[in-house]
């Protein structure tokens, strides 16, 4: 008897290649499974960023209610990233086993209750533990990039990844604007402030859960349907999982990119955590204004990260890998200089201007990093992406621990300048990246390339 299995769709409303992966990126269409997957992926990652950074803008009220000290707040900030280091590393293999749709929706549905249980806490220890658990949801970054790589072919995967990550990161900025407004609205209904901030977390929790359900209901892992374990079409043999892992971990370029990503994306995460309180404490603005200023930092992601990806592609077309590496180094160095300047500016208006410029450059650097990552290894792409992605959160933990953990003798503005200095130093290792077939920043390729560098399918 013929199994009534799902017939693979042979007709898509979008141009596809032989693997049925989309070769074009149609932003305002949801008719094809590819674009539907794109919108579901970036929206559900957006909800995770929204939840993780929903606490910092309300800290001036939370810290009074829970009797927190600077040390507690610093530890909680570190904890929020520490959880995501391990979850991002684990998410790669989990996507391999179960597919990105189930992996991301399960993670979102399991962490949404944690977001709402913010309303239950009353001690500093529970506050730190809560932020640790909520931080797990940031692993959805790996699943969204994995999903985009499954749905889009090499010619547009960079753009799809960049726009998805950039638009999702906007969540970390928008939440800094929205949460204080939600809190003031609830407080205006004659609810005491100590209860109003707890009620406000219904919004991010519900949003995250709704997005997870939509991913399950409307998304599919592959253009042809459900995820299958042997999905590596086009690869010569079924690679051993541990071989792939070993191949990725021993590639030194993955480690260097992890380090530099830690000092662009990691710095961005740390800044998301401290910037609202910084403006509130230093310039005596009210909580809504501090939130609005902090929001403009994160919201810039919607253009700056995709712009970084596009710049990388453009430099790659003109100058090859050398162009990609040089543009990454230059943009990240300028970001470091602006970060040093941010800590030195003493006026409110000046700080806002410098912060906006800093946000553009540091987020573009994140986009530029993932313009280099796909070229490091095709066989171990997932592992390299996971290493780089985790490196981002490690950088956030390190900067937050060393510079903003409350037990420091120096002020926040000095910490910000020192963070910029660390960025400048830790971007230098890019000079050591060398590809035999494409060269490095200062060296010519040693092997004569016999294929176009932009041809993604020819990567080793």
């Amino acid at each position: 008897m013929e199994p009534p299995s799902r017939q693979p769709q042979t007709h898509f409303t979008i141009a596809v290649d032989s693997d049925h992966k989309a070769t074009e990126f149609r932003l305002f269409s949801i008719s094809s499974p590819h674009m539907r997957a794109f919108h579901l992926a970036w929206l559900s990652l957006f909800s995770c960023f929204f939840s993780t950074f929903s606490i910092p803008p309300l800290l001036p009220i939370i810290r009074q209610d829970l009797h927190l000290t600077d040390a507690d707040i610093g530890s909680a900030g570190i904890a929020s990233f520490a959880g995501s280091i391990f979850s991002r590393l684990t998410m790669g293999p989990v996507c391999d086993l179960l597919g990105p749709r189930i992996a991301s929706a399960s993670l979102s549905l399991l962490t949404a209750p944690v977001v709402l249980s913010t309303s239950l806490i009353s001690t500093p220890q529970s506050f730190i533990f809560l932020r640790f658990l909520i931080g797990f949801s940031l692993a959805n970054f790996v699943s969204s990039q994995f999903w985009m790589s499954s749905m889009f072919s090499g010619s547009v995967v960079g753009l799809a990844n960049g726009v998805a990550a950039g638009w999702a990161n906007v969540g970390s900025g928008l939440t800094q604007l929205v949460m204080p407004l939600v809190y003031s609205f609830i407080a205006s209904l004659d609810v005491p402030s100590v209860t109003a901030w707890r009620v406000a977390f219904v919004l991010p929790a519900t949003f995250q859960a709704v997005m997870a359900v939509m991913v399950l209901a409307f998304g599919q892992d592959l253009p042809d349907g459900k995820y299958k374990r042997s999905r590596i079409t086009g690869s010569k043999d079924k690679d051993n999982f541990f071989e792939v892992l070993f191949h990725g971990l021993t590639n030194y370029r993955g480690w260097i990119l992890g380090l530099t990503y830690g000092f662009c994306f990691g710095v961005e995460l740390t800044t998301d955590n401290i910037i609202s309180q910084y403006f509130y404490n230093r310039f005596n603005v009210n909580i809504q204004t501090a939130g609005a200023i902090a929001a403009s930092f994160g919201v810039a992601n919607c253009v700056s990260r995709p712009a970084g990806g596009m710049l990388s592609d453009k430099m790659g077309r003109r100058f090859g890998m050398r162009g990609r590496l040089w543009s990454l180094w230059m943009v990240q160095t300028v970001a470091g200089l602006l970060c040093v300047l941010l800590g030195r500016v003493n006026s409110l208006v000046g700080s806002v201007i410098v912060m906006c410029s800093f946000s553009l450059f540091v987020q573009a650097a994140s986009g530029l990093t993932f313009g280099v990552v796909p070229f490091v290894s095709k066989r171990s792409l997932g592992v390299i992406s996971g290493m780089t992605g985790s490196g981002g959160t490690v950088g956030a933990v390190v900067t937050q621990l060393l510079l903003f953990s409350g037990s420091n003798t120096f002020s926040t503005q000095t910490g910000i300048s020192l963070m910029g200095l660390m960025m400048l130093i830790c971007t230098l290792p890019l000079m050591f990246i060398y590809f035999p077939q494409w060269g490095g920043m200062f060296c010519h390729p040693s092997v004569q390339p016999d294929f176009c560098h932009g041809d993604y399918h020819m990567l080793p």
Partner: protein
Amino acid sequence: MKSHLLTAFLLLFCLVQTGNGGVLFSSLPQTLVVTASIKQGQVLIAGEDSIILTWGLNQSFVGRTDESYKEVKVKLCYAPISQVDRKWRKTANDLSKDKTCQFIMVSKPFQKLDQTFKWSIEKEAPTATYFVRAYAYDSAGKEVAYGQNSDAKKSSNLFEVQGISGRHLSLDVASVCFSAFALVSLIGFFLVENSKKKRSTDN
């Protein structure tokens, strides 16, 4: 392009300016006398208890300095123990940057005679240890004198306020229901998927 970048950086550097300082606390004479109806170490409940404040000019200073005093603001101030490891409550000599006294209890025009006021502890007052300080302001709104119920080291006549907890039964119930919904929908999805798979493999 390069010259534009240079001008932009120069413009940014010009924006770096030091802010104007406010009145220095160390320059203020302690000419006011402030008392509060509390016992050392007493714990008061926010939203329920109240304190009777009394403030006035120290009699030995009458007629000498008080012509410029136009208004008195009595403020609730954090004791040093509640400022430890909390930079947002830090004491600074420059009063425009000082964050010791963040709550105004009462604000009245200055009178030569002593004044009293019964202040009910607001519901929003956070859990901390406090003392009471009064500032006298001139017609331009600048501080010109002060007085406090504690000693110079801020170690005597301190009292604690116990803030209210924001937890509410309805919130707790909503959290539990929501968590249940999230877990049930995840498990339900897996069950539906498995039964679909079974049906397609059985046929």
